[in-house]
Symmetry: C3
Subunit: 151 residues, 3 copies
Amino acid sequence: MSIAETVSTDPTLAGPYQLVQQFYARQMRLLDDGRAEEWAETFTSDGVFNANAFPQPVVGRAAIAAAARAAVDDYARRGIQRRHWLGMLSVRPGDGEELLVGSYALVVETPRGGTPEIRSSSICDDVLVHEYGTWRVKDRQIRRDDIRPGA
Amino acid sequence: MSIAETVSTDPTLAGPYQLVQQFYARQMRLLDDGRAEEWAETFTSDGVFNANAFPQPVVGRAAIAAAARAAVDDYARRGIQRRHWLGMLSVRPGDGEELLVGSYALVVETPRGGTPEIRSSSICDDVLVHEYGTWRVKDRQIRRDDIRPGA
Amino acid sequence: MSIAETVSTDPTLAGPYQLVQQFYARQMRLLDDGRAEEWAETFTSDGVFNANAFPQPVVGRAAIAAAARAAVDDYARRGIQRRHWLGMLSVRPGDGEELLVGSYALVVETPRGGTPEIRSSSICDDVLVHEYGTWRVKDRQIRRDDIRPGA
C-alpha cells in the first residue's frame, strides 16, 4: 500500500465520515444505556461480532442481543457505568456500498461513587452496510491491546 | 423511538456535525487555557449550566463566568492542567435552528510533574443556538457517571 | 481575537475538518502499528517535530523516521502497545493552502496482559501542507501537560 493510499484525503469519503461518527455515537450510547436489544438492531440480522477475548464469534442479531443483555445486566448489578469511546476512525470503501471502518476503542468504567478507569484499549474493525436508511454492522472484529501473541 | 431515528444517517446533519465538533474543541480549549470569561461568552447571555454535581443550576453568562473563573484559578493554584474531551457526539435538530447535542465528556487532569488521570466521565446534553455567526450554548446539562441513584 | 474568531463556524472549513480527522487516524495508526518509516512519510522531507520533552527539535524526515524507529522498537521489546488519540481538533487556514491544526493528544499504553494507562496528555500544534494528494506535517509542536513552568 502506498503512502498516498494510506493517508489519502479522498473528498468522496468526506460525506460518510461524520455520518459514521454519529452512527457510532448513537450505537455506543444504546449499549452504555443498557438498551441491549436496540443496540443489537444496529447489526444486520446475520451480523458477526468477534473479539480476541471471545472463545468464538457471536453470530446473528439474536445471539448478539443475548450476549449484550447478559453483560449489561451484570454491569447494572455491580453499579458500574460503562462508556465506549470510538475514535481515530479511518473509513474506506468496501465491496459495493459497504464501508470498512477501522477505529480505536476505549472502554471507560465508572463505579457508583468511584473513579473512572480505562478498562480496555482495542482496535475495532467494522464492515458497515446501508439498510433501511441507516447503517448496520455486518462484521465487527475487536482486538484488545492486552491480548497479544507473546514476544 | 425507532431504530431508524436512533441511528439515522440523515445527510442534512452532515454539515453541522463537524462545525459542532470544532465549536467544542475551541470552547473547551478556552476553559482549559484558563480563559474563563471568553469561555463564558460561548454561552448565551441567559444561558444555563447545570450538573448533577451542582447544588443548583448556574444561570446567566455572568454567573457562569464567575464560577468558571473560581475553578480555573483553583486549578492554576494547584498546578493542575485540565483537559476536557468531548466526543461521541450525537446531533439532532431542535426547535427552530437549535441543535440538540448529546456527547460523552472526560476530564483528564495532569499535575505538574505528574501522571494524567481521568477525573470524571459524564454525559453532556447541550442546546446550541446560532448567534452572530457562531454557536452558543443555551442550556447545558452534565451528568457525572459516578453520581447516580443507588441500586 | 474576538469570540467570533475563536469559535467561528466558518462552513468553508467543514470540508477539510473530517479529512484532517481521517489523516490523523491513519497517521497515528501507522506509528502505533510500528510502521515508523511510513509514519515519517507523513511529514514533509524538511518537516520539524518538536516537543517540550525533547532536548532539541528533530528536523527532516530521515531523522524523524530514525527517532520513531528507536521508540517503536523499544516499545515492542517491552511488550507495550501504544495508542495515540488526537481529538478536540481546531482547524484554521494558514499561509496559502496550509492548515493550522490544534488538538489534544493522549497516549494510552497497554502492556501485554496488563491494564491500559494514560501515559501523557498533550497539546499538538501542527502545520499541515497538501502534497501529492495527501496531507503532510510540515511542523509539529507537542507540549506535554506535565512539563510546565513552575508556579
